[in-house]
Symmetry: C2
Subunit: 408 residues, 2 copies
């Protein structure tokens, strides 16, 4: 019998991380759970017994609808990794004491690779110490780098924003067609895996020429190749637009954003100032070719843009949360909800749960066979994979001219 | 009798500059104009006789709807200032030759201060040389710095995007509430006038705490005051969010983005590298206080985000274009369409035309009495001015998961 449950949010926020808890909440209430608690600021807040009852907010249908349209972590998030059990028994005892005190039978945690480690540690501890509580992960990351699951809730909305914005700035960059070419370099999040940057490929279509090149951290960045490509492009067209991952690096593993900073003497305070990769490349191209350049860093905008979230993504986040709830009703623990793709066209998925030990701390990169290295573009296989994930919209509820959110 | 007309786009693009030409096209066809031509790449393209017939695109109703939802200049833009008539007779003769060749009776030009100079020069030339053609300006600038008109089409959509994005990143920045504070500095366009940055004030509401401070170029930037404010804010709250104009400057007139660069020795190539104002301030705060900082530059995203354009703005852009057409049918020339505010609540405007000589090259700044200097916020007067401008939305037409545009 599952009487009460608790859900927490962990790691970097996304546009749909709140839809994950919406899915957990809705399914749990359907299944007869008495109290659905939320931990404020993840497991770190939980350790301070910072807990709220989600009924106080989401019995109200309008609030529930707002939750799906509210960016970032409604409950607050953390970047806290549980310590090893050995020498840290007291942390675990405290967690289980709080669970028992509130008669919480199952704990759900939305997050990426690091956050899934929390589910692994807690379910292992419960198993080793004969604790009855159940632990379930709910995938969430714009980085899309969790293994086993076909893709991660959060990714579809992030690339929908990336592709929408890139379509818009490609047009902006092409406004002035008579004068010298302008080279626009767009930096997209992704330190180790280039999933988000791949999304730039979706901009291309009948109404958009798309980006001229895409550089991912999955391949070593060759500065000479890059300069040659930009010069060649600028000799042929007035607007050159290139998408790069923040984590692009040379063959020695050195990040491009560090490269140019070596050329800088330290400032008056004795500090080097790190610029982003796009700014670094824009500066290098400008000073070596004289071409006009501009750098745009999509920064946290790309993970917070719920106003243009993908409805498919929102629904999948909710379904993943719901599937995790079903799993604990089947007595399962130490697993994460996963999305299984059955077909891309028409798009069809199912939801399962999978052993957390194969998921926690593992990072899935973009398959090399999806990258057209020669043309610096994504192959058709990626487009077929990604296109369904950005389909559909959930129109914001506007108030005073702006999308309305819900606050804790 | 007005047989044919031509319309051109000039200066930096906006989210609704295409709605201006939509308004010109629609009204002109209603009034019986035979051909509505478009100049490709503004007056610069016109001088190369780069002209299209808008009927080829906009007789189709769906295309016309797409035009209103397409960012940047559909016709292409330019930054070309007509030379003085003295010593440059041939430029003017060429323009009027092309007008006569195509039997064009009136020329419409959408743009900001510099672009309105083109209308002034051409209408003055026509007057001085007994030419029958009429010249009319249609206001357009995200900068909102044209005089006489209450506000400029393009501004409402830009601040709707700014406020929407800021609401989203404020939440993102507040995700991690347990650890050290994070200072987020958001840089918004506006070199001389802070109109766009004021829009950050609209983010505040029942569901958003708003930005903690707003710095505009209308007031000198005091670095000590800034540092003190940030330190004070960071001692009281975990998330500090500050909006700044790109053009903030100290009391000597020196731009803040130049300030920090003085501290940098030149790089190996002998160049100084300019960073934006937000990056500069984020670096200074980080190294002097140890606080975690992040800088976001909204860059061209803020002028291209038609996907979240204001319907009020779109309609006003169209109405301004229509009013300019009506004016030439009344035989008027050398004027710009203006928006007259009759009331803010309920919001009510009318459209007029005004002598271009009082408009071209004049820059309207944010009234100092709208700035709460002590708290670095905008007064109620600004909020009452700006709120009506962001009301309403025109839902994009989505195709393959992305807003669809029209291409020339």
């Amino acid at each position: 019998m599952i009487k009460n449950i608790i859900v927490g949010q962990s790691g970097g926020p996304t546009a749909v991380i709140n839809s994950s808890i919406a899915g957990v909440y809705k399914k749990a209430k359907e299944m007869g759970v008495e109290n659905v608690y939320g931990m404020v600021y993840g497991i770190e807040g939980f350790l301070q017994e910072n807990i709220i009852n989600l009924d106080d907010y989401f019995k109200d249908e309008e609030n529930f609808e707002l939750l799906k349209r509210t960016p970032s972590a409604f409950l607050g998030s953390c970047r806290y990794k549980l310590p090893k059990v050995e020498d840290n028994q007291e942390v675990y005892e405290k967690i289980f004491d709080i669970l028992e005190k509130h008669e919480i039978d199952a704990l759900f945690y939305t997050g990426g690779n690091d956050s899934m480690d929390t589910i692994k540690m807690l379910s292992d501890y419960a198993r080793d110490n004969n604790k009855p509580q159940l632990f379930m992960g709910v995938p969430k990351t714009i980085d899309n780098d969790l293994p086993i699951t076909d893709h991660c809730p959060g990714y579809g909305s992030a690339i929908k924003y990336v592709a929408t914005s890139i379509k818009e700035v490609i047009r902006d960059n092409a406004s002035f067609g008579i004068n010298k070419p302008t080279v626009l370099i767009i930096e997209i999040m992704g330190r180790h895996a280039g999933w988000l940057t791949c999304g730039a490929a979706l901009a291309k279509g009948d109404d958009c020429e798309g980006v001229d090149a895409i550089y991912l951290p999955e391949e070593d960045f060759d500065m000479d190749e890059f300069k040659g490509r930009v010069k060649d492009l600028a000799s042929k067209k007035k607007s050159v637009v290139i998408a790069i991952s923040e984590g692009i690096h040379d063959s020695t593993g050195k990040f491009i954003c560090e490269l140019d900073n070596d050329n800088k003497a330290v400032d008056a305070f004795g500090h080097k100032q790190l610029s982003g990769s796009a700014v670094t490349l824009a500066n290098i191209i400008n000073r070596e070719t004289g071409l006009k350049t501009r750098a745009i860093e999509l920064s946290t905008l790309q993970r917070a843009a719920t106003h243009i979230a993908s409805l498919t993504d929102i629904n999948e986040a909710m379904e993943s949360g719901a599937r995790a709830v079903e799993a604990v009703f089947n007595g399962e623990t130490g697993k994460m909800a996963t999305i299984i793709r059955k077909n891309s066209n028409p798009y069809e998925v199912s939801y399962e749960v999978y052993d957390i030990h194969d998921i926690a701390n593992v990072e899935k990169k973009v398959p090399l066979e999806w990258i057209d290295s020669e043309n610096k573009q994504m192959n058709q296989a990626y487009l077929e994979y990604a296109r369904p994930l950005i389909m559909g919209e959930l129109t914001p509820i506007f108030e005073n001219g702006l999308p309305k959110h819900i606050v804790r």
